[in-house]
């Protein structure tokens, strides 16, 4: 028996990654079908992306796209909600419809030999959803109750508050995608029907990944989704410009809370931004991995939190950048101050060679794991299609991450992460935290109730 070596073992030769190539067929009704054949397991994942999503909601009807998606299976001309649910479950299919900011989607996973029947159901929902009563009213009531419940969830409160602080109440990104009490109360059947007609249209992409043969799949999709046609005009999204706000601290009171949810955020970048790759590398170093600066400082060194993070939401338009953590109440102000310090450090110091290399390797070598599950492959193909990134985007990913150097990271940090222009949110016990937050001197501490705007914001209309 040999003794174990004490030195870290060297890796073997790197494998050649083959990014799956997806077939491409445009059907007569405009639907683009992308197919990847993977025959290891007899299953199929499918994803239909219709390129107008929740960002086409008006802020006064925030939640419309999300509710329309949820009620898609509420009934069709020929079938009730119960019939539809039984049919889907009997196939063993897991089918869902949801609204992302950039698109409305229907996705499902099913045994490969049940693909045609599943497609028939999807085609029926797309063309013929009727949003009947009483299912409609029940769905709206359920959504209102869920919104109410979220007001007890400190993480959800923090998310709502920071989104509003960054993008403002007049911008759809500043509202909850699933809606708020007052916006959902303005949604009726007419609005849902119009949303369905305007956003569920065949100028879309349908991705199928799994145990299929391309020609056969295209034929069966053509016979179902290919027959789908919708008169009228598609929805258009109109988004106002966003200005970064001078720093303030919005304090949402949760009396007695043992932890505070702390968030710091500002406007980020769009998916197609030329700053995308430097920002991805920046984020990995700052708060996008376990060994990131934020997690190391706030969790491993400070012991303030179970985990600290940061993330850019790269949407069709610039979504938020948010950093945060759930911290022990007694260290709230300190955690906020240190978060801002780490953000500032990204702007004034170049990241170390070791950090840069570690982040880039984490991203470039690690990205191949996103090609493991069918659903993940489908998502990546759809994402490239949605944003016009080109079929070779993932092939070029490693090279483009590789090009990012420390200067590019600092330059991006300088332009995007000015701590004097970020918004901060604390959801916690105001009695315990207000004084120390004020002493930080980073900005005024504003009492905030989620569901109602902070005192001073006057653009909220009442009916």
């Amino acid at each position: 028996m040999k003794n174990a070596p004490v030195a870290i073992p060297e890796p073997g030769p790197p494998p050649r990654l083959r990014v799956p190539v997806a077939g491409r067929t445009r059907l007569d009704n405009g639907l683009l079908v992308r197919t990847v054949q993977r025959n290891r397991l007899p299953i199929v994942d499918a994803l239909l992306i219709m390129p107008t999503g929740a960002s086409a909601d008006s802020p006064r009807q925030a939640g419309l796209a999300s509710i329309t998606a949820e009620l898609l299976d509420a009934g069709t001309t020929g079938r009730s909600q119960t019939d539809i649910a039984r049919a889907i479950d009997a196939l063993g299919a897991r089918l869902g419809s949801h609204a992302h900011w950039d698109f409305c989607a229907i996705s499902f996973q099913v045994l490969a030999d049940r693909l045609p029947q599943t497609l028939a159901i999807v085609a029926e929902l797309l063309a013929d959803a009727t949003f009947p009563s009483p299912e409609l009213e029940r769905g709206l009531a359920e959504r209102l109750a869920a919104i109410e419940q979220d007001l007890e969830d400190p993480g959800a409160l923090a998310g709502s508050a920071i989104a509003r602080a960054i993008h403002g109440a007049d911008h759809i990104y500043g509202t909850p995608r699933y809606g708020a009490r007052d916006t959902v109360e303005r949604i009726d059947r007419d609005a849902i029907v119009r949303c369905h007609r305007a956003r569920y249209r065949p100028a879309a992409t349908f991705v199928v990944v799994g145990d299929v043969i391309e020609d056969a799949v295209v034929r069966v999709v053509d016979g179902t989704l290919g027959q789908w046609a919708v008169p009228g005009e598609p929805a258009v999204e109109v988004l106002p410009a966003v200005a970064r706000q001078p720093t303030s601290v919005r304090l949402v009171d949760r009396p007695g809370a043992p932890q505070s949810e702390v968030r710091v955020g500002t406007v980020g970048a769009a998916r197609t931004s030329s700053d995308y790759f430097p920002l991805v590398v920046l984020n990995t170093i700052l708060g996008g991995s376990f060994t990131s600066r934020l997690n190391t400082r706030l969790r491993e060194r400070g012991g303030y939190t179970y985990g600290a993070f940061s993330a850019f939401s790269f949407r069709r338009h610039a979504g938020p950048f948010v950093a945060g953590a759930a911290v022990s109440a007694d260290v709230t102000a300190r955690a906020l101050a240190e978060t801002l310090e780490e953000i500032e450090r990204m702007r004034v110091e170049r990241v170390t060679v070791e950090e840069l290399e570690r982040a880039k390797r984490y991203l470039t070598i690690g990205m191949l794991r996103g090609f493991e599950a069918n659903g993940s492959v489908a998502g990546r193909i759809a994402d490239c299609e949605l944003h016009g990134l080109g079929d070779d985007w993932w092939d070029r990913y490693a090279d483009r991450i590789g090009e990012v150097d420390a200067d590019a990271v600092r330059d991006a940090a300088e332009r995007y992460l000015d701590p004097a222009m970020v918004s901060a949110v604390v959801v916690g016990d105001a009695r315990r935290t207000r004084d120390s937050l004020e002493s930080l001197g980073i900005g005024p501490v504003v009492d905030t109730v989620v569901g109602r705007p902070p005192r001073g914001e006057r653009h909220e209309e009442t009916d």
Binding site: A4, Q81, I88, D89, A90, Q109, E152, P258, A326
Partner: protein, 407 residues
């Protein structure tokens, strides 16, 4: 040790199960297995402080661990050409954790774990449900009586001596199963595993699980608890004692949980969330635990404007319908189970974990392929008789969270 090569993507999963969990904790040290799990990431003989994480990230991999009632697992998923790194890191901490342990690291991870408890349990609505359900369903001298995360007081009491003793008792090759799954060559990996792990001495025989491990098949009564919290909607956590995981009848319990709440055509969803709506949501699942007995657990949130009494009685009426459930419901549930099983097996890390599980619990890794067959073999008669015998008033615990008070 289980080696399962397959050439999908060039990735490998390394997975270790140690047969130690919260069930092995002695009184006054609840939560220790989980705190110890955190210590395993703080470095080892040849790995500096946070080195484990940094090395894996630099290799483009991901890693984590988790603690449960019956076991603690550690896993990393790596590009295939980094297999040796994953194996070496696991061997280094299995053989040489203690030289790297310091009071400072223990104190720091204690704070992290206390924050984890705050985040998961103390600062969440309904957050302490599993702690209360376990305490309700398992008597005080049963090893599942206390929660995995443990109490703040016990977490505070943990010492460096405890860390050493725990390591020496439980973290030895004779108490571990290693699974490797993915794009690798067993003929090349075996000598490496031998070289890395072979030098680690076996540990002493593992002490028996403390406390009373045998339980009668039912509670023998109904147990109730009501907690006031700052929530707007009442929520019920309902538990029934079930046979332990591995017992034939456990599979009927698992299928029953699917019949009850999986999919929008499931019994409770279609009748109580849709149909005559009294619930906002409902979820049921079977706990796969092996000591004495397991549980079928269900939670349901009451709709606004519905009384909890009405919701409770509607729920029990529907659950009673399982006693003459239709074939169609059973078939539908089994189709969903089959789909889900295949979907899970797509990922190499999931396969590796299942291989470790089946080997640890049943000494049979091939169950990864045969387990779904056990679920498929459950008949309508099995479900009906399980419902009649075990889903009654004499075998249930009810935990209600109701609005009021507030912290």
């Amino acid at each position: 040790m289980v080696l399962s090569p397959d050439r999908g993507l060039p990735v490998v999963a390394v997975n270790l199960w140690y047969s130690v969990g919260s069930r092995n904790e002695r009184p006054g040290r609840t939560g220790f297995a989980h705190l110890f799990e955190h210590m395993m990431f703080q470095g080892s003989e040849n790995v500096p402080d946070n080195g484990h994480f940094a090395l894996i990230e630099k290799a483009g991999g991901s890693l984590n661990g988790s603690t449960w009632l019956d076991r603690t697992n550690y896993f990393e998923t790596l590009p295939a050409h980094y297999l040796d790194l994953g194996l070496w890191l696991e061997a280094d901490r299995m053989g040489g954790l203690l030289p790297a342990m310091t009071q400072e690291k223990l104190d720091n991870q204690r704070d992290v774990v206390k924050n984890e408890r705050r985040w998961r349990v103390d600062n969440q609505p309904y957050g302490d449900w599993d702690e209360r359900i376990q305490a309700m369903m398992y008597p005080p001298d049963h090893p599942y009586h206390h929660s995995v995360i443990g109490s703040m007081a016990d977490i505070d009491a943990a010492s460096l001596e405890d860390v050493s003793a725990f390591f020496r008792t439980y973290y030895a090759p004779n108490n571990a199963v290693l699974s490797v799954c993915g794009d690798f060559e067993p003929a090349a990996a075996l000598p490496t595993i031998e070289a890395y792990f072979g030098a680690i001495p076996g540990g002493p025989p593992v002490p028996p699980i403390p406390g009373r491990t045998e339980l009668p098949p039912t509670l023998g009564r109904e147990i109730r608890e009501t907690v006031e919290q700052d929530v707007s909607l009442p929520r019920l956590y309902l538990a029934y004692r079930m046979p332990r995981y591995g017992d034939d009848r456990f599979y009927a319990a698992a299928v029953t949980s699917f019949i009850l709440t999986w999919g929008k055509a499931s019994l409770l969803y279609r009748s109580l969330v849709r149909g005559s709506p009294v619930l906002q949501d409902v979820t049921a699942f079977a706990y796969p635990v092996v000591v004495g007995a397991s549980m079928l657990v269900l939670w349901a949130t009451v709709r606004p404007g519905v009384s909890k009494e009405h919701a409770e009685s509607a729920l029990f009426d529907r659950i009673a319908q399982l006693r003459d459930i239709d074939d169609a419901d059973v078939v539908r549930a089994k189709n969903l189970i089959e789909s889900r099983n295949l979907a899970e097996l797509q990922r190499v890390d999931e396969r590796a974990d299942q291989l470790s599980m089946y080997t640890t619990l049943f000494d049979d890794p091939a169950r990864i392929n045969s387990e779904v067959g056990r679920l498929r073999a459950v008949t309508t008669a099995d479900v009906r008789s399980l419902a009649a015998e075990l889903l009654g008033e004499d075998n249930r615990g009810l935990l209600w969270y109701v609005p009021g008070g507030g912290e």
